[in-house]
Amino acid sequence: MVAGQRVPVIRQLSFELMPGRILGVVGESGAGKSMIGNAIAHALPPGFSVTSGSLLLDNEDLVHLAPARRRALLGRDIAFIAQEPMTALNPVLTIGAQFNEHLRRLSIAERRERALQLLDAVHLRDGAALLRRYPHQLSGGMCQRVLIAMAFAGRPRLIVADEPTTALDVTIQARIVQLIAELQHNADTSVLFITHDLRLASRICDDILVLYSGRAVEQGRAGQLLAEPAHPYTRCLQLASPTISGKRSVLAALPDRMPGLLEAAALQGCRFAPRCPIAQNDCAATDPPDHRIGASHQVACHHSERTRGIAVTAAPDVPAVGGGAPLLRLDDVGKQFRAGWRSSGTWAVRATSFTIDAGEFVGLVGESGSGKSTLARLIMGLERTSTGTIMLGARDVTHATQADARHRLHWAQMVFQDTQSALNPRRRVGDIVTQTLQAGRHAIRRAQRMDRARVLLAEVGLPAEFVERYPAQLSGGQRQRVNIARALCAAPRLLVADEIVSGLDVSVQAQLLALLQRLRAELGIALLFISHDLSVVRHLCERVLVMHQGAIVEQGPTERVFAAPRDNYTRRLLAAVPPDDPAQPWRPFPDEAETTPAAVLPRAAAAAPSG
């Protein structure tokens, strides 16, 4: 596959997917995972084409298929499950009408019967009512279930699922993944499961293919590949994602990032070599061939025997947090939103009390809509509280006055989630990070501000010449560092970080987590870390707050809460995270929309190595 200057996006990729098996394609953004799905669907972006090789579905080459035959195959023999469930359904048609499109082969009388059957198979309650509804009346999880039901409607031979759970909450993600596995098992369909999450893939896939910079660097049986990863990249991916149990270890933060298409084409040897912890001289010279190291395990690395040597180091003990007066204190804080002036309103946050001490990292977890972000906005004075008081140091900032805002500047700053939206595309990095100095009537000259900007950039690990760049010229991870640098400008004592690593690849995430820990060691900064990812919170924070429907249902030391959760909701959140050990059974709780709870066997353990 080739773009513009004829650069390969995917190289020498071959894999086989046996009937009734699930193949996981794992890789970071830019690895070319989605290109595989696009090539199968014959929906490559303009300018890209399959230049060599073949894609065989039961001996029919999908690349050189007559359009009529392809139309017959796609959607019937090959079905797709999209990443964004809300946009994959047509908003102006009812669910029933959209089901009919997938059931054209049946008579009109049979269609309804079959649709109800399928909805029942994805454990959706009250299918008959559901068929009359429109997509906007359904939650994201329900939409994804409907899409899965539709994908299985034509009894396809192959299903391509491209990041089907990335846009969903963790609790829903768990069930969706299980659902795909369950239906796949019953219908004996093959599934190509594209994901960035190695742990998730290990949970439901029979085989795993790890993609790096367009090349399959390792493939094999899921159990084997995870137990003994042979490629250093696979090993680093594993070590870069924080665990949910066991002892906390230092995350393997790979330097830099995956090369872009043009950079990669310029590399002579192994494309992972520049970042590889065990690279030797010959790695940069010649591209390693695929070689077999087991019955069905192959790897593209010159020194795969050394991979085992990439060691885990235990995390250093967290520095003791200085006592004294708390940095932030919330007492009975509540926030009510009113739809109109006569409505009674809904409480987004209710009677919340907690404190954060100097230098303390506190995690705030919960599903979307639990009020996490509203709480952050209340602390930052972006919303007015309905009840309660907020203290920053010794000052009451509940009423968010001008004087409070000036006080807050040096006490608490916010790091935003979406860097696309958080960094003004029309301002230079140097101006963005020193905004605080530009503010007010005592603006400081630009030359002086740029000096400060260079110091700040160095603090977050970016080169000084970035001051003159625009955000669009930076990668996602670099942008998030700029975002953090801006928050640090006024030397605040507390950072409020709303989902700041959620959109990032695991290796970049590991780099940022390391940065936050270094900032604590160097600046003694405290952090309120809002996240839906429990493993990350466990890795980073010594205390955790669990939020559900606007209230904090449980709080305490992270280890204690995660090891012995007291609240039912905390248990549910924890159950949704796949266990670190692939052999351990994973039993997420059923969600509200479901009919019957289902327990699914761990696949990697149950699947016998055959075929």
Binding site: L409, M414, F416, Q417, S421, N424, Q438, A439, G440, R486
Partner: protein, 275 residues
């Protein structure tokens, strides 16, 4: 600037530049536009001494067209800028602060838009009296709503971006936030609207002059030329067609420029193209 490389922008800019040069050097290129020569009335274009012929009072058509360009461009520039400033300020205030202020400004725009624009400017001109400055004022008072309505929507989108919140958290005043964070995002749209508005201003000025409510009798305006020549259309069609062509060229120039800028500066369109 990539915007300048687009064909439309270039074509528009060249047309406007030609008209602007004519207007600028009018005193050098032609003699007095008011001078009457009753012995040579309604001469066709190409007559000796009168390159583009004469009108019913024997006035040089070329001179009148060139001096008319002066007025047309002056009115277009000042009126469009005036309307842009008024509309932009109100749009940013409404979109940024929201709430009651937004409600008030939006309702004012709606009431304003419910008057037919031509009737509104005619009424204004009757009240204000004639003169180029009155024409400008009438256009500003009618057309600020165009800027206000479109830019307010853009401001609403921009203020929801986290970088605006971040600027507030960094201690920026409202004024600083608007100037450094919001305005740069709305500027491309503003420039586009400004260019299109200049084309509209040329037409409105011509219409007002045509019905005799525009400039005073001593000034030369294209609309007035058409009005004067109407009676002799059968004998001397060029006396009507030449000022019409002048209006057409100028408005086309502004529209091409505006449309080209819109295509080059609009982020959404450029994203679609770059894939």
């Amino acid at each position: 600037m990539t915007a300048l490389r687009s064909g439309r922008v270039l074509a528009g800019a060249v047309l406007i530049a030609c008209v602007a040069l004519c207007a600028l050097f009018a005193p050098l290129l032609a003699h007095d536009p008011g001078e009457q020569d009753l012995l040579s009335i309604l001469l066709p274009p190409g007559s000796p001494g009168f390159v583009l012929g004469t009108d019913s009072l024997g006035r040089d058509q070329l001179a009148r067209l060139l001096f008319g360009a002066q007025l047309a461009l002056l009115v277009a520039l000042t009126a469009a800028c005036g309307a842009a400033i008024l509309g932009t300020v109100l749009a940013h205030i409404a979109g940024y602060f929201g709430g009651f202020i937004d409600w008030l400004i939006s309702r004012a725009v709606e009431v304003w838009l419910s008057f037919p624009p031509v009737i509104l400017s005619l009424i204004l001109m009757v009240g204000l009296g004639t003169g180029a400055d009155k024409v400008v004022l009438a256009i500003v008072l009618v057309d600020w709503t165009r800027f206000c309505r479109v830019l307010r929507a853009e401001v609403l989108v921009t203020v929801r971006r986290d970088y605006v919140t971040a600027a507030r958290l960094a201690g920026f005043s409202h004024m600083q936030t608007l100037l450094h964070e919001v305005l740069p995002a709305t500027l491309p749209l503003l420039i586009t609207l400004l260019s299109l508005e200049m084309g509209i201003a040329v037409i409105v000025e011509a219409v007002l002059s045509f019905v005799g409510l525009g400039v005073t009798a001593e000034q030369v305006a294209w609309g007035q030329m058409i009005a004067d020549a109407r009676a002799n259309f059968a004998q001397a069609p060029w006396t009507v067609l030449l000022p019409m062509a002048a209006i057409f060229i100028t408005v086309t120039g502004f529209n091409l420029l505006g449309d080209g800028l819109r295509r080059s500066l609009d982020v959404r369109l450029s994203v679609a193209r770059s894939v």
